[in-house]
Symmetry: C2
Subunit: 414 residues, 2 copies
């Protein structure tokens, strides 16, 4: 019984709420003494994953590819309620004025229709930046950057209301791998000025959007940057933390240390880009993960068992932390970024152990499914994980959302 389990799971109380429901028949009389299934149909917590293949799915004309990607995305939808879509400027707008709007918007709408919340990633970043910006002066680059933000945040409003506004600011002005327009303007303006400007452009365009800053740097540098931004009044909705662990699982000590340090701001925390591989670990001496170029990076039996175990542990810690409100695994399938065995499914879409391990949490332990009997006045009372629910006796049904402790009347549809 779920209610019994929950007594030993106090560390998840913040994920749950009490509900006192009076179930009514369509004529307003209490549905008393009846047996109902109460089933959670979605989570308030954001269980996310990169959803880049939904764009490819929308775009492809090849029936075979379409079927393959549809199969993949169906497995995706069976796990997640939150997806990240690509807005890398250089790829989104390869020539000035020519954008990937049609397929990206189609993907965002398709995800939304399937109950998925969508985040756009990112609006400003030095990597994968548009090369055509380099012809302009810094002043013009900044103008175009802000214009781009206003354009896209406006165009996608109502479909994409969550944005990684700016990515990897700690390294941005000192990034020296290659010349790019964003490093140029960040060096001139300074980090805080640039972040201020890009957030202001996003905020004025969609005041209700969730606006994130995102970084792989989890050192004191990022903390200090956040202090400076908050002191400067930048409207950061949530702190994005990348956790690409190609070089091995952080482990509980680092994970708890990062959570403790970034909790100080009292802002929601999003683990925005998580990677745990099911193969060999990348050597520790690699500083920029992009320097690790391999033709193949096989998934191994041992590695798959390890990946599943680490995902279970890490997600459990994050789900238990009161400020974490989203966890996104970066790659859904193997062979994406860096060719790593970093997915929940193999390249051919077969599920890996990590898929089932996460399913067991999201749609098992952390999802509420009860069978309850109404009392003589039609009341049921229970504690469940926050999210959307259906109440049904197999014939009549009703839906409700559980968020804060609530007493409500629920009228059946028949």
């Amino acid at each position: 019984m779920h209610t019994e389990r929950s007594k030993s799971m106090d560390q998840l109380m913040h994920r749950k709420s009490d509900v006192n429901l009076q179930i009514l028949n369509p004529d307003g009389t209490p549905a008393s003494g009846r047996r109902f299934h109460v089933d959670q149909t979605s989570h308030r917590f954001l269980f996310g994953c990169g959803a880049f293949d939904s764009v490819a799915l929308m775009k492809t004309q090849d029936p075979e590819k379409k079927a393959f990607l549809a199969e993949r995305m169906n497995k995706w939808l069976a796990l997640f309620n939150y997806g990240t879509l690509p807005f890398y400027w250089g790829r989104y707008e390869p020539a000035e004025g020519t954008t990937a709007y049609p397929e990206t918007m189609a993907a965002a709408r398709w995800l939304q229709e399937n109950g998925v919340r969508v985040k756009g990633h990112p609006l400003c970043w030095h990597t994968a930046c548009a090369p055509w910006l380099l012809q302009y002066s810094n002043e013009e680059i900044l103008r175009r950057q802000l214009e781009r933000i206003r354009r896209d945040v406006s165009l996608y409003k109502g479909v994409v209301d969550m944005w990684d506004v700016i990515n990897e600011v700690v390294i941005m002005p000192v990034f020296d791998r290659y010349d790019n327009a964003i490093t140029r303007i960040c060096r001139e303006l300074g980090r805080i000025r640039l972040v201020k400007e890009v957030f202001a452009a996003a905020k004025e365009t969609n005041p209700d959007a969730t606006l994130l800053i995102n970084d792989f740097n989890t050192s004191v540098s990022y903390e200090i940057l956040l202090e400076g931004l908050l002191e400067a009044g930048v409207p950061v909705s949530a702190i994005g933390i990348q956790s690409h662990q190609h070089q091995g699982y952080w482990g509980l000590e680092k994970l708890n240390n990062v959570l403790e340090r970034f909790s100080r701001f009292g802002l929601p925390i999003h683990f925005s880009e998580n990677t745990l591989v099911s193969g060999e670990i990348m050597p520790a001496h690699i500083v920029d993960l992009n320097d690790w170029q391999v033709d193949t990076w096989p998934s191994t039996l041992d590695g798959e068992e390890r990946q599943a175990r680490e995902i279970t542990e890490m997600y459990s810690v994050l789900f238990a932390h009161p400020l974490v409100e989203a966890v996104t695994t970066w790659d859904f399938n193997d062979g994406c970024w860096l060719n790593a065995p970093s997915g929940f499914v193999y390249m051919d879409n077969r599920e890996k152990p990590s898929y089932y391990a996460l399913q067991k949490l999201i749609h098992g332990e952390w999802e509420t499914h009860n069978v309850v009997n109404t009392d003589e006045n039609g009341y049921i009372t229970f504690t469940g994980f926050k999210g959307n629910y259906t109440v049904s006796d197999g014939n009549a049904s009703a839906v409700f959302t559980l968020d804060t402790p609530v007493t409500m009347k629920l009228t059946l549809d028949r």
Copy 2:
């Protein structure tokens, strides 16, 4: 001839100025066709050193100790025009209300009378903090910290007008070696809030003072902290950079990299705590220099030659950089902090090669001494290093200050 040398020293032009002097007799007639010695008597650039022994010199009643410290401080005065005095709260005020004011003020006055500019170090720091603060609530600690700043900045005004307002903020809230009052309040307020408060207290008490922030952390964390502080309007007069090189000389690459990165703010830069040792180098694996506890740390012949060479190179780079306006070597004599052979003199006050190497720069290469003849109207023209000057023919003399290019009349005293 100095004027010839200067042609090949263009990188020091910002340290010099042109002057066009008309030298007049007391009766107002031009001192024409006469031969004068023009001698620089002090530098505008701040060549500094820890001057803690001046406090001991003021305090001691022991004639032998007094003579020994006087000999040491005379050698100190022969090199430097800028001294750092200790204001570590725990030592300055060992019991609440009982301070080292008498001997500290006596030392500051004595230095000032000897033409030395004095900096107080530091007003707020987690290390060497007053243990009696720990009995108070965070609110009371902050109140006392600000009160302490107002008290001391006010008491010493006119004698000490330069302060390390706060020290080592990057590590301050995460410092975990021992519990202390300042880490407590920094953790609660955040770095930027605390810095804002302590600078505001210093600024309101002495609006014309030079107010520094100082750190040993020269990473991107300190850069980002400075960005945040400047964006928050904190009145930082100059950036203090520590460079304790017990683990080996930074070398030109790191030195230039640090200068380049911290120049971005356009603020003056003070190398506030420089150390180069003349003995064995501390192993690289030591993270907190204070962990290296040795009974003796001998100065070696090779080490002394190396120290002199490194001091020459490092001071030359810093003096050539347009934003650097002060360089302070931390220890004047060996056997101070960490027992290191870090001084310009041995423990027995004999000069080491580094003493003569620095003297050769400060009072040799970088000091202007000319012999010139006035023309028929009493004019002389030359380019000299910025600072104070005397003009003298061995009988009559006059003084002037060279700062910006200037044309002036100078009246002799006889």
